[in-house]
């Protein structure tokens, strides 16, 4: 029972990280109708920035986190401006290929500049493990991840529903043309979505690298793809869906790692995606959109 609870807790923590990444996917998909494949690699850039800020510049942890968030935000906005903005209105397959190109570019730049070897990442969490009883310990990273995820979720939901910018985002994702007629700056709104998504990616990067204490150029790609699966699982375009999908996926992955096979856990996660898409392509909380001629 103890081991089950500890697997469950680390599954929820992993799921929280997936949920944070999935938010970036789902918001960008909602507003730009594109799969931002490079999102996973923004996480990696965030992780490296924080790592370098701590080790080379010996910044305190809060400053390193701030630098990481700022760098990722700037990176997200730049990517959108240079690579995705010229393709607005192009077919989805062209945009997806571009996004794959950006993802590859970031990954291989990191590979050439920083080397392919994984570096040990010193955890940014200083909280001590919580001991519940004999043999059941929950690590500080798990607790912090869960708290951070919940706080960000609440803040984001308030932002989307209560502020002017948040409502502008909803309007643009509903109908770009009509939003523009209402005086919303569509390009600025889209940039804002990329900025928020990338800032969340930096936070997710810090938590991910603290939980699995190492970083390499490939750190972001797998969690990125899995977070996308989480976004699809919960229903793409839906913010509570991303949260639910992320948590469920994290728990599924960790439990299958513990009880089925550690090598096959990735395959099981991918199988979840295929099953979800076959049974309910709109995801758990997604809305069905009919295509018009």
């Amino acid at each position: 029972m103890n081991s089950f609870i500890s697997y469950l807790a680390s599954g929820i923590s992993l799921g929280g990280i997936y949920a944070l990444i999935a938010l970036g996917y789902t918001m960008v998909y909602g507003i730009a109708k594109m799969l931002n494949f490079a999102h996973g690699d923004v996480i990696m850039v965030g992780g490296y920035t924080i790592f370098l800020a701590i080790t080379s510049l010996s910044c305190p942890i809060w400053l390193s986190l701030l630098i990481g968030v700022l760098v990722c935000t700037a990176l997200g906005v730049t990517i959108e401006r240079i690579a995705y903005k010229p393709l607005r209105g192009a077919s989805s397959i062209s945009v997806l290929i571009t996004a794959i190109g950006v993802s590859y570019l970031l990954q291989n730049l990191a590979l050439n500049i920083l080397g392919s070897d994984a570096k040990t990442f010193k955890s940014v969490v200083t909280l001590k493990p919580i001991v519940i009883n004999e043999g059941l310990k929950i690590s500080g990273e798990t607790v912090v991840t869960i708290i951070v995820t919940v706080v960000i979720m609440i803040a984001l939901t308030l932002f989307i529903n209560k502020t002017k910018m948040g409502r502008a985002m909803q309007a643009v994702s509903e109908d770009k043309g009509a939003a523009q007629l209402m005086g919303i700056n569509v390009n600025f709104t889209i940039s804002m979505v990329f900025a928020i998504g990338s800032a969340l990616a930096a936070v997710a990067g810090a938590l991910l690298c603290s939980t699995y204490p190492q970083i390499s150029p490939y750190t972001g790609s797998m969690p990125g793809i899995k977070a996308f699966i989480a976004a699809v699982f919960g229903g793409i375009g839906s913010i509570p869906g991303a949260m639910l999908g992320g948590l469920l996926l994290g728990v599924i992955e960790n439990l299958s790692k513990a009880y089925i096979s550690s090598q096959l856990s990735d395959a099981i996660v991918f199988a979840v995606l295929i099953v979800v898409l076959i049974v309910k392509p709109t995801g758990l909380l997604g809305k069905k959109i009919n295509e018009k001629v």
Binding site: P86, I93, G101, L105, L111, N112, D266, L277, V293
Partner: protein, 358 residues
């Protein structure tokens, strides 16, 4: 002579020109190798080039002609390679002719991969665009993870198969033991079959089949689905049927190429990951989406470059990434399109005036 050329249908002319180009290219390469003008390392590239061209062309069928992005092409190649390798190793003593065994391995590898392609195609008929792409990606990842878990040993009692755990050694007759699949380890037991002429002939057959498919009634249906699936459906095109045809054909040729790969070098499941699928996509994108001849030329250039220029190999992936981004922006952005159009009209104008001056 001119009349004769004009009598041939334009599509047939394109096919013939492409086939002649392929024959000319490989003929010239062999000549250069034989006369010693091209090094030994270049000779080793020619057969892989054949199957990478098959892969690029078959991927172009899905991406360019049907208009759906497949990110799991390496998975089909992996299946074809494994099935071909297992078949070749099992029948090594049964089928004595090397060529016959090789061809059978290719066909069986292709058919099994094609069936998986059709299966995937069938299960995702309702999806398109980004969703379809991500499912094919998932499929590719699952495939190599699962194949990495397979163990297969042949001995005098028959075959022993085990999934995820190694086979119990006590059950196996060690004297007659032949290890076929051993988990994540490399498959090395396939007797190599390296004949450039046979490879080029297989490539030519592939090109003829794909060109004919594209120019047939089915091919026109594919393009109609790509351009507007709702309109295509409304004029009575059975979308599901044609999508399945494309998925089967595309996966079949990927499987054939995989089996060719298995007969050229040792086979390792972990090589058939997402990165390989992306490499094929780069070949297709650089050559021009939907352009078969473009895929052939792009594959030849991009495959030969990193092998011949070592410095380039380090920056290969960065260059690939930039190719993807730049090609997409140049071919899709309105501004870029206008610039290219104005340049080409100017060029045509110069050509015209030059002709009139003469």
């Amino acid at each position: 002579m001119k009349n004769l050329i004009n009598k041939i249908k334009p599509t047939t002319r394109t096919t013939i020109v492409t086939l002649l180009f392929v024959i000319f290219f490989f003929g010239l390469s062999q000549l250069l190798v034989n006369t010693g003008m091209a090094g030994y390392s270049y000779e080793g590239l020619l057969i892989p080039m054949c199957f990478y061209i098959i892969l690029a062309v078959s991927l172009n069928l899905t991406v360019g002609i049907l208009g759906e992005l497949s990110l799991g092409h390496a998975g089909f190649m992996c299946i074809g390679g494994y099935v071909g390798a297992v078949f070749a190793m099992l029948t090594e003593n049964v089928i004595t002719s090397d060529l016959l065994r090789y061809l059978l391995a290719l066909v069986i590898g292709g058919v099994v991969a094609g069936l998986f392609g059709a299966l995937i195609g069938f299960s995702i008929l309702r999806l398109k665009g980004d969703y379809l792409a991500i499912v094919t990606l998932a499929f590719g990842q699952i495939t190599y993870k699962i194949l990495q878990q397979c163990h297969l040993i042949k001995d005098c009692n028959g075959l022993h198969f085990s999934f995820s755990e190694p086979i119990d050694a006590s059950k196996i007759d060690s004297a007659s033991k032949v290890v076929i699949l051993n988990g994540a380890q490399t498959i090395t037991g396939v007797e190599k079959y390296k004949s450039l002429i046979v490879s080029v002939i297989i490539l030519l057959v592939t090109l003829i089949v794909i060109y004919n498919l594209i120019d047939s009634r089915a091919g026109r249906a594919f393009k109609a689905i790509r351009d507007n699936s709702i309109a295509a459906e409304s004029i009575g095109i059975n979308i599901s049927k044609y999508k399945l045809i494309v998925f089967f054909t595309s996966a079949f040729f990927a499987g054939v190429a995989g089996a060719m790969y298995a007969h050229t070098t040792s086979l390792e499941a972990s090589k058939f990951d997402f990165n390989l699928s992306i490499m094929f996509l780069v070949y297709v994108v650089l050559g021009g989406i939907g352009k078969i001849r473009g895929s052939i030329i792009a594959t030849i250039i991009l495959y030969a470059l990193p092998e011949l220029l070592r410095d380039f190999a380090t920056y290969r992936m960065i260059v690939y990434a930039i190719i993807l981004i730049v090609m997409m922006i140049v071919t899709n952005n309105e501004k870029c399109k206008r610039i290219i159009d104005s340049v080409t009209t100017k060029l045509k104008f110069w050509k015209k005036t030059a002709k009139e001056d003469n």
